[in-house]
């Protein structure tokens, strides 16, 4: 989202999203479907719960020796003839990739779906360098045509209805398109086939990288990942440093739960394994292979409060079940990663001040932690972020004052009782038929859509203190 759009307060961005009837329809249909599919997948997979624990344990163990696993990965990729680059920041990652494109004379880059390249805003940098990026994942292709950004980690165009996609194709590709998913896919497929054959550069992310073998693993459903990594003469894979897994045995644990959590599939349609560039005697594969390892704020969290978030597999399950995400969609969050995990990742990548309001974009219902395949305690870290927002006085001062007053009242029973009495007097003009229908100030935020029960004529403790039959 642009700085100008981010200048709009989060609450208003969310409100706007809830007025978008198309978005509401698309969100309800898609998230409901994902929730059901995930539930079914795990219901028929009794070993799933134990594998989730195992997956989390592997992530934790890997984080404890991340440097060693990265060194192993680097030496194995280099042994296979690949090049490894380390980027501390998004800007460094962009310039590494732009340099590769320039040195190899690339004009057209095909991309498979990658949140890491979204995170570093790679497409804009490529365009500025005269390289045309083409997204080849269907959802990414749709939003690239629409000049938008992904609104879901695995379903980037989740916010669009098929009718909207048909209109978009008709307008942008200048050919009539019907709102039929299969027909729309065929149109995109035809367009993209040409690009795959023409492209000089293939850019992918990485769902995992296996240290012991130097293998980059891509999990896709459309096969575009395979084309991107094998047809162009140069392949660049971009991955967050936390994506390394020690061994193939470990990888199997993740593959067993990733697709089930994301789409409810037992496995995704394609699991592509890339091991360096084409070797002598091989028919397919690029001449050059580059792996870009991205820090971008991750390393600092190995010992930080957001450490758990480094275990995230980017499956999107927490988005689908989040009551907030399900109302507002991904764009309203304003950053690359939406939803509950996205708030944590935004704090990690952009710093805590960026999530002053987003840290409160959760009812702390816990559905995210329940759905997370590696059981990341997202609500706990959201509370942790709120604490940092308060402690560093990033929170607005009226809020901090209000909570200090509340704290003072809850620590002093006489003041609490006095407040109850004051409330009873103050509520009189607003109470009708035993309910409060309209209140001024911040209380009006409640009463606009909901009645409020008035403070009881006698609180429970007042009754307990005086009613004989209650105490008897």
């Amino acid at each position: 989202m642009s700085d100008a759009e981010l200048a709009t307060p989060f609450r208003q961005r969310a409100g706007g999203a809830m007025k978008d009837a198309f978005l509401q329809e698309a969100l309800t249909i898609a998230t409901t479907k994902f929730i059901g599919l995930r539930r079914e997948a795990f219901a028929s997979f009794p070993e799933g719960e134990a594998l989730r624990d195992q997956a989390r344990a592997i992530k934790e163990a890997t984080l404890q020796r991340l440097d060693q696993h990265l060194e192993t990965l680097i030496s194995n990729v280099e042994r296979l003839g690949g090049h490894v680059h380390y980027a501390e920041t998004s800007a460094e990652a962009r310039s590494i990739i732009v340099d590769i494109a320039k040195r190899t004379g690339a004009r057209l880059a095909v991309k498979s779906k990658s949140m890491a390249t979204e995170e570093i805003h790679l497409n804009e940098a490529l365009e500025a360098a005269g390289v045309t990026p083409v997204e080849t994942d269907l959802g990414e292709y749709i939003i690239q045509l629409a000049h938008e950004r992904p609104s879901h980690i695995i379903a980037p165009a989740i916010h669009k209805t098929k009718g909207q996609v048909a209109e978009l194709f008709t307008r942008e590709l200048k050919r009539p398109a019907e709102p039929d998913p299969e027909a729309l896919t065929l149109i995109a497929r035809g367009e993209l086939r040409e690009k795959f054959l023409q492209a000089d550069l293939g850019i992918s992310g990485a769902n995992f990288a296996v240290a012991e073998t130097g293998t980059v693993v891509l999990v896709t459903n459309e096969g575009n990942g395979r084309m991107v990594t094998s047809l162009p003469r140069v392949h660049v894979a971009v991955m967050g440093v936390e994506k390394v897994v020690p061994s193939f045995t470990d990888l199997m644990v993740f593959l067993a739960i990733l697709a089930k959590s994301a789409t409810g599939q037992k496995l995704s349609v394609y699991t592509s394994m890339v091991q360096g560039p084409r070797r002598a005697g091989e028919l397919e594969g690029p001449d050059e292979f580059h792996l870009v390892l991205l820090d971008g704020g991750r390393i600092a969290q190995i010992d930080g409060p957001l450490r758990e978030a480094l275990s995230c597999l980017r499956c999107g399950a927490c988005l689908n079940v989040c009551p907030v995400y399900r109302q507002i969609g991904g764009h309203a969050y304003g950053y690359t990663y939406p939803g509950p995990i996205g708030i944590l990742l935004t704090a990690m990548l952009e710093g805590t001040p960026a999530v002053r309001d987003l840290a409160h974009a959760s009812s702390l219902c816990g559905a995210c932690a329940d759905a997370c395949p590696v059981r990341i305690d997202i609500p706990r870290m959201l509370i942790e972020l709120r604490r940092e927002v308060d402690d560093r006085k990033i929170a607005p001062w009226p809020e901090r004052v209000a909570f200090k007053l509340l704290a003072g009242l809850l620590r002093r029973p006489w003041l609490y009782r006095l407040a109850a009495r004051a409330g009873r007097i103050a509520q009189k003009p607003f109470t009708r038929g035993g309910r409060i229908g309209r209140l001024p100030l911040v209380f009006g935020e409640w009463t606009r859509t909901r009645d409020l029960p008035p403070v009881a004529p006698r609180t429970f403790q007042e009754r307990w203190a005086t009613d004989r039959d209650l105490r008897a």
Binding site: R11, A14, C365, A367, R387, K404, L409, T449, Q461, R463
Partner: protein, 242 residues
């Protein structure tokens, strides 16, 4: 059954807005032969402060609550979220204080009402105070925090005079979330609207929950919509004589 004694932690919302819930709990526990007391000077468990990140203040409130209930044999709480606060957050908040051990012990002796009835007392048969169809909403902290979905359903399912009907999306949040409800009222209200549409679809006369926060949210939405469905706390239904 006799010989048990319970201290009621009525909670701030229970004390101020839903005193009849506390009254029902006292009556139904006493009918079961349980001695009930209510330690004086209760305010709040501190969850609103904790969830908004004011942890030093939450710890100060936790400290005085632990002191109030330190000698109780059992502590019964009408709201899953407050029970969760005492059971899961107090030990951490008071870990480096002189009350650390008391907080851990209190956590073990504190029970949400339905859990206390079913899992501690082993009582599951009650006569309903309300006739007709009832449906049950899982409060988030009770369901995902205390991993309890069975006890309230057991109690409601066995309730003489009432028929329990399933609520679609019963495990989904009602949109309350404490200060969330006023920080993002539009989002909170839309979540609530979907919840209430599910409630209406059941044809129930009564919506039951085990958390005063959810009841404030859902009850407020129901009366605003002039719905015929009443939002009631579990205790109010169980208090129909026995």
């Amino acid at each position: 059954m006799t010989g048990r004694s319970v201290s009621l932690m009525v909670t701030c919302l229970g004390d101020l807005f839903f005193p009849e819930v506390g009254v029902s709990i006292v009556r139904l526990l006493r009918r079961l032969g349980v001695a009930v007391d209510v330690p004086a000077d209760q305010t709040c468990c501190g969850l609103p402060l904790f969830n908004s990140g004011y942890h030093a203040d939450a710890a100060a409130v936790a400290r005085r609550t632990v002191e109030l209930f330190g000698d109780s044999e059992h502590v019964v709480v009408p709201s899953g979220s407050c029970a969760w606060m005492v059971k899961h957050e107090y030990p951490g908040l008071l870990a480096d204080t002189t009350l650390a051990r008391t907080a851990v012990e209190l956590a073990a002796r504190t029970h949400e009402l339905s859990q206390f009835l079913v899992r501690v007392l082993g009582v599951t048969e009650f006569t309903s105070a309300v006739r007709g169809r009832v449906t049950y909403h899982d409060s988030c902290h009770l369901l995902r925090g205390l991993h309890e979905s069975e006890s309230p359903r057991t109690l409601l399912g066995n309730l003489e005079g009432a028929e329990l009907v399933p609520l679609p999306g019963a495990d989904e949040c009602c949109g309350f979330g404490g200060s969330f409800a006023v920080r993002l009222p539009e989002v909170s209200s839309q979540i609530l609207a979907k919840k209430l549409a599910n409630v209406e679809s059941t044809g129930a006369d009564c919506l039951v929950a085990c958390d005063a926060g959810c009841l404030m949210q859902m009850g407020g939405g129901l009366t605003r919509a002039k719905s015929r469905v009443r939002a009631l706390h579990l205790a109010e239904l169980l208090d129909g004589g026995r």
